[in-house]
């Protein structure tokens, strides 16, 4: 019988230091993964944690990890050539097929950007698949900006608004992402989708702002983060009412997400 909790060893190919607290690990892996899915990464004797796939390519996957505790600190101690254990992919994905041929607005806060990066890279490489793409990405300050090269490139093909919580800097406006949602021409779009990723408060304020600007709740998609221990529907940690975020999520339509009461 297959043991769904058994992690498999994978080789780390390279590590990029995005910020002092966020590193991107490129890991050897040939799985087929959809945009928005995640893996459970682990270091034996330290622990496990769910981490989104932040990029995918021929023979590798990338994970962008924020150092916050026991396991993530352990992972920061690993480098190219070291082994990391993984199981997955888990969870559903963004409905990318539905996004094709339409306008797409992506609103991302901080490390949340990791969960949409592979999708953004896909549309950057295949701009013909999407009518337009607006990216609003917010960071705490200049030192917490992730994926600098991607952000630069995205400017060429997407409409981009980058902002920092309380400072202005070259290429970055000052303020929270919610303040720039008003610049999105929802009324000019005939058919669009909105994706929101980030910390819980940022998601809820951003969704409310979109609704106030006339967006239709059925067109808003969010990726929810909840405590997870198993990621396969057994441990109960991620449950919200009758919904398991590890199984039915992490991506939810806002019309459903707004009714989920923890």
């Amino acid at each position: 019988m297959k043991n769904v909790l058994m992690p498999a060893p994978h080789r780390i190919l390279s590590v990029v230091h995005e910020t002092s607290a966020e590193y991107t690990f490129r890991v050897e892996c040939s799985d087929t993964v959809e945009h928005g899915q995640f893996y459970v990464l682990s270091i034996p004797k330290i622990g496990e944690a769910p981490i989104s796939v932040s990029s995918r390519g021929e023979g590798y996957l990338e994970f962008t990890i924020r150092k916050v505790g026991r396991l993530t600190e352990g992972i920061f101690g690993l480098g190219a050539g070291d082994t990391i254990f993984m199981r997955g992919p888990y969870g559903n994905a963004f409905p990318v097929e539905d996004f094709k041929g339409r306008d797409l607005v992506v609103i991302a806060g901080g490390t949340g950007l990791a969960a949409v990066r592979s999708m953004l890279q896909h549309f950057y490489a295949n701009p013909g698949e999407i009518k337009s793409l607006t990216l609003i990405a917010g960071f705490r300050n200049k030192d917490s900006v992730l994926f600098r090269e991607d952000l630069e490139r995205f400017k060429e093909r997407f409409k981009t608004i980058y902002c920092l919580d309380d400072t202005e800097a070259e290429g970055f406006k000052k303020g929270l992402v919610t303040e720039y949602i008003r610049d999105v021409p929802f009324s000019a779009f005939s058919d669009y989708n909105v994706v929101i990723v980030g910390p819980p408060e940022m998601i809820s304020f951003s969704a409310k702002e979109c609704l106030m600007r006339g967006a239709d709740e059925g067109r808003i998609w969010v990726s929810l983060e909840r405590k997870m221990s198993c990621s396969v529907g057994k441990c109960g940690h991620c449950k919200i009412g009758g919904v398991y975020v590890c199984l039915e999520g992490p991506v939810f339509n806002y019309a459903e997400a707004k009714n989920l009461i923890d």
Partner: protein
């Protein structure tokens, strides 16, 4: 009994030195405590409090192996026998995968029915429809296993519980009830209620290293409790159920609303009443369920308007 023990590991409710009645291996049927409800449920036999799932040796990860080849015979009451189906739903069905650790023990489990001479304090199995079962090999009668007779089941409890009539039209209002706030202070968040519950299945996963200089260690599954404050705590200080009342709501709604909504068959709670009996704050689950039934009725009468 010797013949039985050759084929089975035999578990039954027995008295432990500290006075509590809980499941343990027995050598003689006379050890079984029949005239009292066990304080703990039999779930610890097939869902151990702590279980090694992987051994880490050097850089390898090996699945743990069960220690005993024998089948498992458990002396249990109807409510607890029904409870195992709830655990089966989570561990063998939810998410379309089977949990290897649960399955390997579960497959071995056989039951002998302990009949209830009368209903114990706090029981409400009749209300939950769990007072009867057909899942047993024999009945414990007069200190022997009887495989011929028909069982006698409890038909009435001292306590009757009304199952709240909750549906989509009022569920948001039920979540929003001011009633839950009372538990913010009242409930200590100790998790005793979930430890004794035969249907609580949540767990945590922890890695341990044998000692500072060792290269070896293991990954363990240990019982978790949604009533404890850290159950939903995430990195960055986010905790979606910081208040005890929110955690009480989460547990109660799972037991008598959303488990059935998701899986369709029965409510999760089997009405054993252990949670109320073990609570240091005298919070009685069946009273909560009855209060909710009244509140749900009021909400329905109002056409779902918020209180």
């Amino acid at each position: 009994m010797a013949g039985l023990k050759e084929k089975y590991k035999v578990y039954a409710p027995k008295r432990f030195p500290n006075g509590s009645v809980r499941y343990g291996e027995i050598d003689s049927l006379s050890e079984i405590v029949v005239d009292e409800k066990s304080h703990f449920s039999p779930k610890e036999v097939y869902l151990p409090i702590a279980q090694t799932i992987f051994y880490f040796k050097d850089s390898r990860c090996e699945e743990s192996r069960p220690e005993d080849e024998r089948d498992i015979l458990i002396f249990a009451r109807a409510c607890d026998i029904n409870a195992i189906e709830r655990l089966d739903t989570i561990f063998l069905k939810n998410g379309g995968t089977e949990d290897a650790y649960y399955k390997r023990l579960r497959e071995k489990v056989r039951f002998v029915l302990i009949e209830c001479a009368g209903s114990f304090d706090g029981c409400f199995c009749v209300s939950m429809g769990t007072n009867e079962t057909g899942n047993y090999m024999g009945i414990l009668r007069d200190g022997k296993i009887d495989t011929q007779s028909e069982p006698v089941f409890v038909r009435e409890n001292k306590k009757a519980v009304k199952i709240p009539d909750i549906d989509e039209s009022i569920v948001k209002d039920v979540f929003g009830l001011e009633y839950w706030r009372g538990f913010d202070e009242e409930c200590a968040g100790c998790g005793r209620c979930t430890a004794v519950c035969p249907t609580c299945s949540c767990f945590d996963t922890i890695d341990v290293i044998y000692n500072e200089t060792s290269l070896d260690g293991e990954r363990r599954r240990v019982w978790g409790s949604c009533m404890r404050e850290d159950f939903a705590a995430m990195a960055g200080g986010h905790n979606v159920r910081k208040r005890a009342g929110d955690r009480m709501r989460f547990k109660v709604m799972h037991k008598i609303y959303d488990f059935k909504k998701r899986f369709g068959v029965s409510h999760m709670c089997v009405g054993c009443g252990r949670c109320g009996a073990r609570c240091p704050r005298d919070i009685v689950f069946s009273d909560i369920v009855n209060t909710l039934a009244d509140e749900a009725q009021k909400l329905k009468a109002k056409g779902g308007a918020a209180l």
